[in-house]
């Protein structure tokens, strides 16, 4: 009876690689794919090492180096903690940008409301003063262009962050560690003084003045 090992020896190296690569097509999960590629490299190494030609030995060495590079790349990527970037830093940056856009819109709205009141007030003022006031109001309108421009710049940054997130997802999937659907809950630990320095809270998440007053009785 012919064993699998005997059959492997009988087929050419090219046939052997083709047969193993055919199986890869059935594997959809990134991690399995990665593991299968490493297995193939190892299997090819074993095959090549059993043959003695100098050329094939060089190929084996190259493949061995390649496997080492892949392993090191995986360790390097893991060391930058892509899950943290994906689940904490990027959502935080997105939230802050959203809050900036919201504050800008609110502040610009208030400025424009005030300008419109000033324009009405100008109607009841002496001509010279009225004209001067309207000139000032016009300059404020012109300056309020900033809202549109900054809004578009913020959108560009948000789009860039989304692109970074997509690439991190792809990287994590390729490494066999796809991003979780829900952000991982990190266990609570006592707050340090540094933990308390968070700057302005995103809209709707901070403590209101009334709530603070209530804490003081």
């Amino acid at each position: 009876m012919t064993s699998q090992r005997d059959r492997d020896r009988q087929e050419s190296l090219e046939q052997f690689i083709d047969r193993r690569l055919d199986n890869v097509g059935d594997i959809s999960h990134g991690g399995q794919l990665f593991a299968e590629v490493v297995k193939i490299i190892q299997a090819v190494l074993e095959r090549v090492q059993s043959q003695v030609s100098a050329k094939e030995r060089r190929i084996a060495e190259e493949l061995e180096t390649l496997a080492g590079v892949i392993e090191r790349a995986k360790v390097d990527v893991e060391s930058v903690r892509p899950h943290d970037i994906r689940s904490h830093h990027l959502p935080l940056a997105n939230g802050e940008l959203g809050a900036i856009a919201s504050h800008l819109e609110e502040a610009t709205g208030t400025i424009l409301d005030t300008c419109e009141e000033l324009e009405k007030l100008a109607e009841s003022m002496p001509d010279e003063a009225s004209e001067k006031l309207l000139e000032c109001v016009t300059r404020i309108y012109e300056a309020c262009n900033f809202h549109d421009i900054t809004g578009q710049r913020i959108k560009k940054v948000v789009d860039t962050l989304e692109a970074v997130e997509t690439r991190i997802d792809a990287l994590l999937t390729a490494l066999g560690d796809p991003p979780a659907e829900e952000p991982e809950q990190t266990p609570k630990k006592p707050l340090t003084d540094e933990d308390l320095l968070n700057g302005p809270a995103p809209p709707g998440t901070g403590t209101t003045q009334d709530e603070i007053d209530a804490l003081f009785g």
């Binding site: 424009l112 309108y141 012109e142 309020c144 262009n145 900033f146 549109d148």
Partner: protein
């Protein structure tokens, strides 16, 4: 040539702040008959309902951009002659060329000032 300050003007921008700014600057130029739309498709619907004397539109809007609106206006036999000014942050030469090729009458880059708006309207409408 004097311009009818009561002619209807349509301003198009997805930023409500910009609509307010342009409306207020137009009011200071004594144009008081001003309607608003927040994207190209809403603007096109308004243009087909009422005869406007001028369109002042942003470029970067969804779902229909200002350039698409301009092309739709120029392709419509009933709307094709409406003066059209683009006010946009898109300041690359290729943008200006594309707008010009599509038939824009004038082009203002954001941020802009009241004097520029006044001058461009005067150029497009032939005096204010």
């Amino acid at each position: 040539m004097s311009v009818d300050k009561k002619m209807p003007i349509l301003i198009v921008d997805d930023y409500k702040t910009m609509l307010r700014i342009i409306r207020n600057l137009l009011r200071q130029l004594e144009f008081t008959n001003v309607d608003e739309a927040t994207d190209g498709s809403a603007a096109l619907a308004k243009l087909r309902e009422k005869p406007y004397g001028l369109v002042i539109s942003d470029w970067n809007m969804q779902p229909m951009t200002g350039l698409e609106l301009l092309k739709a206006v120029r392709a419509d036999p009933k709307l094709k002659d409406i003066p059209f000014i683009m006010i946009t942050a898109e300041s690359k030469t290729e943008n200006v060329i594309a707008a010009k090729q599509a038939g824009v009458n004038n082009y203002i880059v954001k941020p802009f000032n009241a004097e520029t708006l006044h001058k461009k309207i005067a150029m497009v409408l032939g005096g204010t």
